[in-house]
């Protein structure tokens, strides 16, 4: 085979692989959408599940997912942003800082089910918080922490040093420089980064199975001590655990679409806002 044809073949194979990956994505979205569009209705979104989940809607699962994700952010965002500020603005080189960075990277690598097991052992049983919104959110917060730290650090890195120097040269203290000339400009990036993390967290199943998501709990939780339904776990149950799997299959499709729509719109929204901010930036 001549060099020319080798190269042609190589290009075709590589391009086909790339095209295929895009194909997989659209195929996945299409496959879920085509069988679920018919299921989605106002009632499906806003109704309680009825008749052992064979009828009705998914309202408590939507609310549960929103609650647990927001509560997670309440714990993780302040910690994550403060950690990023320390690492990017204060930390000098040294073994303690290397250790912190190593810890963050390893937290990012711990399998989600191990977080779930840890949450079960510590929050649910040892600390006696039970299967609850609080236990699940604390568990998810540990998972979200490394995501938020790295997103926030990236945002801080976009702020030029001249802002810091300019403030310091005018007699600002370190914190005043950070507080007035760094944080306000890094904040939009930190928020969009956190929303991206929120999207990832909202779709997590494994950690919440063991810490607070309920098989069937057709109520809106009124306190952080209650169990809750969640879209990802609800989908798992409808898809594999329900005693009439075939009967509830349309509901499973609908749940999958709502979950996917929720997660993708959050992430896409954050990405769009981020690129808008980048284009608007004047420095």
């Amino acid at each position: 085979m001549s060099k020319y044809w080798q190269q042609k073949l190589f290009t075709i194979v590589v391009s086909a692989a790339a095209l295929f990956s895009v194909g997989v994505l659209f195929f996945a979205v299409y496959w879920i959408a085509k069988d679920s569009i018919g299921v989605i209705s106002w009632e499906f979104i806003t109704d309680m599940p009825r008749r052992r989940m064979t009828e009705g809607g998914i309202w408590p699962a939507i609310v549960g997912t929103v609650y647990v994700s927001l509560l997670t952010m309440v714990f993780a965002v302040p910690l994550g942003i403060a950690t990023a500020i320390y690492l990017n603005e204060y930390a000098s080189k040294g073994w303690v800082v290397r250790m912190i960075r190593l810890a963050i990277r390893n937290l990012a690598g711990v399998p989600s089910i191990v977080y779930g097991l840890f949450g079960l052992g510590l929050f649910v049983s040892t600390l006696g918080l039970g299967h609850s919104l609080l236990s699940a959110a604390l568990t998810l917060a540990l998972m979200a922490l490394p995501l938020i730290v790295s997103a926030s650090e990236e945002a801080l890195k976009t702020i030029p040093d001249s802002f810091r120097e300019g403030a310091l040269a005018l007699g600002a203290t370190k914190w005043q420089a950070v507080r007035h000339q760094v944080l306000p400009f890094a904040l939009p990036g930190m928020i969009t980064g956190s929303v991206l993390a929120l999207g990832r967290i909202a779709g997590e199943t494994a950690p919440i199975i063991l810490t607070g998501a309920a098989y069937f709990y057709p109520l809106i939780p009124r306190s952080v001590g209650e169990q809750f339904m969640a879209l990802p776990y609800h989908l798992y149950i409808l898809a594999t655990q329900h005693e009439q799997v075939a009967v509830v299959r349309p509901l499973a499709y609908g749940t999958a679409l709502v979950l996917l729509g929720l997660v993708l719109s959050m992430s896409m929204g954050a990405i769009l806002v981020r690129s808008y901010i980048r284009r608007r930036r004047t420095w």
Partner: protein, 302 residues
């Protein structure tokens, strides 16, 4: 003057506070590790680590219990390795296409599109595997059901893809332009330049991408829980007399075991403790993989 010293104290308090918060990440990691170890200890003491790692009888709630987790280790390694066999060439091809072949406009669309795959909740990927791929596998290969290691491998390779593409693409893009120019100047064509100059120069990053992809694959729960069948078996087949893993059998992974049994297990029982042993195995495994990836990535390119 006192005003000054108040400001100074405040500065000190803020810096210390931020440090304490940042250091919490180390505390959290240690807490997770320590907690897994203490909860796993009773089972390790009672059963012995050797039995966990090599035994094949997993029946922790039986009257004559067995705690051999090798079946699940086998399952986890089998699907993770299988997934990488698919996703490494695929991911590298996508990374090469994005950084070296694609027109600028295509690249701008392609990279975020592939990264979107990473946003897909694993339970949704599992659902697609369950309703689309599994029936197809059953039909095509004449099986009674499609919940097999093969199905898990395919779905898992899709999940590992974005990790591999995005890190490998960064590594390839950071190969200096001079290397490529030198290669072209010596009469190499594009394919030769990519295969013999760019990929070798980017090998640290590519290796790290593979390691991280492997870590992700080993740690994945929901997808495999939904499509791999969860049978406590080690399917093998003989090819030319050699025993090889049979990908058309059902397997259960370490992760799936925790998810299945974690909810009903009585707290404090030996069974409960043995789940923490499995958690510890997973933790150690991913910790090691990440550490190696880290070392490879920060090694100086020669």
């Amino acid at each position: 003057m006192t005003n000054r010293s108040v400001t100074k104290t405040k500065e000190q308090v803020i810096e210390t506070g931020l440090f304490v918060v940042a250091f919490m990440t180390v505390v959290f990691l240690m807490l997770i590790l320590g907690f897994l170890l203490t909860r796993a200890w009773p089972a390790v003491q009672e059963v012995g680590l050797r039995e966990f790692l090599t035994g094949t009888r997993w029946m922790p709630s039986s009257r004559t219990p067995g705690y051999g987790a090798f079946t699940m280790i086998y399952g986890s390694l089998m699907v993770a390795t299988g997934a990488l066999v698919v996703s490494i060439p695929w991911g590298l091809a996508v990374a090469i296409y994005i950084s070296e072949l694609a027109p600028a406009k295509v690249r701008e669309v392609l990279k975020p599109t592939v990264e979107t795959l990473a946003i897909f909740p694993s339970v949704v990927i599992g659902f697609i595997g369950l309703v689309v791929l599994a029936p197809w596998v059953a039909r095509t290969f004449g099986l009674s059901h499609g919940l097999t290691a093969f199905t898990g491998v395919i779905m898992l390779s899709i999940m590992a893809l974005p990790t591999i593409v995005s890190i490998a693409e960064d590594a390839i893009a950071s190969v200096p332009q001079e290397f490529k120019e030198a290669s072209y100047a010596l009469g190499a064509n594009k394919m030769e330049t990519i295969l013999f100059v760019i990929l070798p120069a980017a090998r640290s990053g590519v290796t790290a991408a593979i390691m991280l992809g492997f870590g992700r694959a080993i740690g994945e729960t929901m997808t495999l829980l939904m499509v791999a069948g969860n049978a406590l078996s080690m399917p093998t087949t003989r090819v030319l007399g050699l025993p090889l893993p049979n990908f058309f059998g059902s397997v259960r992974t370490l992760t799936a075991t925790i998810a299945i049994e974690g909810l009903d297990v009585p707290w404090g029982s030996l069974h409960y403790s043995s789940l923490f042993v499995i958690g510890g195995i997973l933790f150690t495994f991913t910790f090691a993989v990440n550490l190696v990836a880290e070392m490879v990535m920060h090694r100086k390119e020669v």
